[in-house]
């Protein structure tokens, strides 16, 4: 691999790792809230979370580009607090990725929390465990596989992202130039050899990651350990 491609790989991994971390931190309470929610507004929130699944990435990217520009409030606030422009920055592609990959993290977690139900949590409460304690001692160990699934899907989906990044990140080496963009560049320059190298690595990497998730979720593997896990990946 050539230096600029290596740099793109590092940027991609950094972006995907940071995005996954943020998604787990905000996605977990959101999934919990949705799983326990009984209000009729639940479907609306669910629809908003699922929107990136069906929306062309360029639509999301277009609106984010406008929001991130210094003329609009989010972009303005960002510039005032950090002193830097938000659009076409590493931060911009991380925020974009968080929104773009949100359903891939929230949906498996929500399903796992719904399947887990309240019965074990009630049992835990009656044994003296408070809400935070219950989450870490009961919910987390019993839905571990779903957390791994959610994190892996979020990560893989972020790595494979193109449209949103192109719109809000552009193609700045070391900042917003990720693998998918680099690949596109090579194709445009008719450098098929380098394009092949990137394409095949992305293909194999994704394949290995997905196979690992499915292996982790094999019913046999979990049968004896965790009864209430989500066994199917969306």
């Amino acid at each position: 691999m050539i230096n600029s491609d290596l740099q793109a790989l590092v940027t991609t991994l950094e972006m995907a790792a940071l995005t996954t971390l943020i998604l787990l931190i905000i996605g977990t309470p959101l999934a919990w809230y949705l799983a326990k929610m009984t209000s009729r507004f639940k479907v609306i929130i669910e629809a908003v979370v699922a929107l990136p699944l069906v929306l062309p990435p360029t639509v999301l990217g277009f609106y984010l580009l406008i929001a991130f520009s210094p003329e609009y409030l989010p972009g303005q606030l960002w510039q005032q607090t950090t002193g830097q422009q938000l659009a076409f920055s590493f931060s911009a592609i991380v925020i974009g990725s968080v929104l773009y990959s949100l359903p891939f993290v929230v949906q498996p977690l929500q399903k796992a929390f719904e399947q887990l139900g309240d019965s074990l949590l009630e049992a835990g409460a009656l044994l003296g465990a408070g809400p935070i304690d219950r989450f870490f001692s009961i919910v987390l160990p019993l839905t571990k596989a779903s957390f791994i699934t959610a994190a892996s899907l979020g990560f893989a989906h972020t790595v494979g992202e193109f449209g949103v990044i192109l719109m809000i990140g552009g193609n700045i080496p070391g900042e917003t130039r990720v693998l998918s963009i680099a690949l596109f560049d090579h194709v445009e320059a008719f450098d098929y050899a380098r394009a092949h190298l990137l394409a095949i690595s992305l293909l194999i990497g994704s394949m290995v990651l997905l196979a690992a998730i499915y292996w982790l979720n094999l019913p046999k593997r979990n049968n004896n350990k965790n009864l209430n896990q989500v066994r199917s990946i969306k």
Binding site: L120, G124, A125, L126, L127, G128, N224, L227, N228
Partner: protein
Amino acid sequence: MMMSNAKLNKVPAGDCPQLDINIRVSYQQFELAINLPIPLKGITGIFGHSASGKSTLLRAIAGLEKTLIGDITLTSDGVADKALVSKTLVNSEQGYYLKPEARQIGLVFQNSRLFGHLSVLGNLEFSVKRCKNRQLDLNEVIELTELTTLLEHQVNQLSGGQQQRVALARAILAEPKLLLLDEPLSALDQHSKTQLLKMMLNIQKKLNLPMLYVSHSLDELQQVCDTLLVLAKGKVVNFGNIHQIIHQLNNFDDPTLIHQQTSLSLPIKQFNNGHGLAVLALNAEQDIYLTSDKAFENQTQLRCFILASDISIALTEPSNSSIVNHLFGTIKQISHRKNKVLLTINCGSQEFFVTISAFSQQKLSLNSRQQVYLQFKASAVRTFIH
């Protein structure tokens, strides 16, 4: 939690642990309305049809029912001294609601609700770790619930009976002031039921832990409860000594609720009369014979019941009969039911219940205050093996 100190009040000495309930829980099709002080002594049974509100009542006490109106106060032993302390669990008027984790109330569910990611020991340690002011020894509880050989097992490899024993041990190890049991035996086979009932009775006595035991099976409750609370359609129908309540239920004539019977706790006079029969003292003059069992030997008192349909009536003292029990009594009440007649008969201070056919009643033309003989075989006296 913050307010819990303010809600603790010392109670005058001489009172006993008690649960004061004054609540209303409403659903679309159902309302539970209960206003009752329940003295917490031994095991109190809560009995009724399904959808009578039994489980809802337990969930309200445990703090799992969040929409209730009213208040519940638990009076129990304090931690430092043994003086009684009363603690408000919920008071909707003051907007006060103590979370389940702060109530010190245990609940054993019908489905054991064990933590599948933990071993048997892990489930028990879950309680131990969260228990403040620990007094119980983990090993003692493991022995009481006969879990010694199962500690390393995964909980979903256990049988139903074993799972319930783990659930029971786990609940006890949280050292609650009150243990609630919601149909804990309903999914078990007969052998496991008997074993668990024995265990519950033993634990109740050893740890002096009051229990509220919900069941739709009168048979189970009769074996372990001293007091019985009967619910129907969300209201208290009867509450009191278990034998008296069972006798009151006889008059309901509801075969889905109860098999009409005489329910007794009598002192054992003789374990074996040399012919395989045990002798119970009914009163100074009269005895009751029943088939003896090895298990009677450790006991001084025996619980038993005689189905009303197993007793027959004679006007003269039967002498040439294989039936060993004949008691002399006075008819107190005659109630006619279709083709059957329910007789309430006083033998000394003990009431007996007898059903005879309307045909026999016509033949004998029995009257109130008439003196009659009751006959029943030794094998008609049913016991619970403890």
